[in-house]
Symmetry: C2
Subunit: 359 residues, 2 copies
Amino acid sequence: MILLLVSKKVNTIHNSTEQQGQLTIRDIARLSGVSTATVSRLFHNPSCLKPDTKAKIEAVIEKHQYIPNLNASALTTKNTMTVGLIIPTVKSSIHSALIQSVQDTCAELGYSVIMGNTNYSEETEKNLLDIMLNRRVTGIIHAGTVNPKFIAMLRRAAEHSIPSVVVWENISDNEISSVGIDNYRASYDATQYLIDCGHKDMGLLLGPYTTMNRLAQRRLGFMDCMNHNNLYAGDDTIISLSHEVRDGVMGAAMLIGKHPRLTAIYAASDVLAFGALYSLRQMGRRVPKDISLVGFDNIEFSEYCIPSLTTVNVPAVKMGKKAVFELVDKIQHNRLQAKHIYLEHEIIIRDSVANYRAT
Amino acid sequence: MILLLVSKKVNTIHNSTEQQGQLTIRDIARLSGVSTATVSRLFHNPSCLKPDTKAKIEAVIEKHQYIPNLNASALTTKNTMTVGLIIPTVKSSIHSALIQSVQDTCAELGYSVIMGNTNYSEETEKNLLDIMLNRRVTGIIHAGTVNPKFIAMLRRAAEHSIPSVVVWENISDNEISSVGIDNYRASYDATQYLIDCGHKDMGLLLGPYTTMNRLAQRRLGFMDCMNHNNLYAGDDTIISLSHEVRDGVMGAAMLIGKHPRLTAIYAASDVLAFGALYSLRQMGRRVPKDISLVGFDNIEFSEYCIPSLTTVNVPAVKMGKKAVFELVDKIQHNRLQAKHIYLEHEIIIRDSVANYRAT
DNA sequence: TTGAAAGCGCTACCAG
DNA sequence: CTGGTAGCGCTTTCAA
């Protein structure tokens, strides 16, 4: 004969009436005289509960300020409703705009975002990804340094069925989606605009293009456009420093130092342009009278610089939104196939460029 | 006689050799011929494992790319190692600096941060807090609108034993810690600086002080200082709009419209000052020759404005760091008692103020 | 030095 | 419409 003995769960901890917070679903169940399943239903399928059962439970929840533990439910549902956002730094307006947008869109859709700065370090980038995998984020939005090594890592995340989308630039990958502008084309257009305004001697100021693909693209767009117009662009007219305002200050000084007769500087980010503006002023060059300036990003400040900055608009807000939608779409349809979304750029013409061809 | 029959767990799901990702600790245990407890020890107490057991498990982990599930372990340890960060918006440099600092400090200490924008909405603020409680963040850093209602909510979080610290300003609370500058004093000092430079007619430009205590403090500091110096400050010399650059633009125009003879404008944030700078320029007033300008925050751009902006430095990076340390200290020592940390402000003198008293 | 097993708080399936 | 119960992936005694 076989006797099955099941020890009745006693749950001593929760028998004491008043705990300092952290009530569990079991407490609520007990307190309202129903099963945990029923309490759970209140949250996920309230329509199938008898009105007074519902009311009863709700009262208890209200009274005891019960706060469901999302981590616990994620364990069962295997859905943390969290997206991981990897960005280089929040200290640049163009990134902030994206972050804000991602954040807000996620909130709308019920997702939380856990965010990490890479500070432009590949190692940090890798660590961040690991942490996000550890936390089983539902998906990843990557706004960092897009390089093959990292794409490989994202693909590894995909193997663990965590989808991701890269922003700022478009890549070609079957699994990793992307939403961005055509950085090459945008840069080409900006350069062409300058040329159309009659400029012939110009220099480029940009961040570390060797490690950031979108910067490499912008550099290439500039060079190609110059070449196609039979104008000179070489390593001596291209200054690559870092991403900060001070790099713009320094870079402009270097450029003017080497080529005093430049009629225009094209800075591949507004932050650099802002620094350049300051620098040019320091050197006694008036913008746009003596020298013209074009930026890239269209951050909020660029409209209020003196003079206001002609720049390339990057639809950061739209980008963030699209990225989240694409990510969530992948998640919800369990889709592996990547989608690549191209966004339009646009030259915003303001006051920092002299037009020598205008009447 | 009693026979205890325990059904051998079969775990069919995991018996299939190759799953697409998401290996569990049990898989690793099975694969390396040890118990889950032993695998767990590898992560938490590796020194108590026999070297070859250790090596064996490590090999399996490496080979199968096992990624521990932090949510699951949080369920047992009751520690999510996550701090919740509530901020109004990331779109202002002063906030970005804080975010970055909080982020980096948390990362150093092994915490992740889950962040939410309130967009200056009280409702969103409440929702964010709820979400964070749902996610059982280990603690909360609050950089939002400090008002009694929200402090009450944080206290509720404290009841659920989730500690929090408020930043930007100091409060007096027994449970909620704070780290910030003395906004009243800083504002008083900025005003006094202007007065010391010989200014008598000045206006104040600031955000919505009725809903943000630190702005109310700054307003009061300005008014008191003016009064103590027998100078006039009234509702017609104080313009309160919102937080954006355009508010600075508009505000300065309004101020000058009402009081054409103002010799100085004190903007209670650099963003507003930036807008004011633009606006004054539009109106043909040179800074500092015709009119002086003082900002508040010392965001990166203020150094590179033209002219560079005299402003009040708020040690945002230090603040973020201190906030995290205080939070973690509370967590680790299970301390309820609040600590209130005062940070020093400092007037950064640059080129936007004319000194009429100078020789 | 290791293993067995009891949970952590919640969901979801299967009965009724 | 509701309850019982078996997990989710991990940690942590307790025992061996």
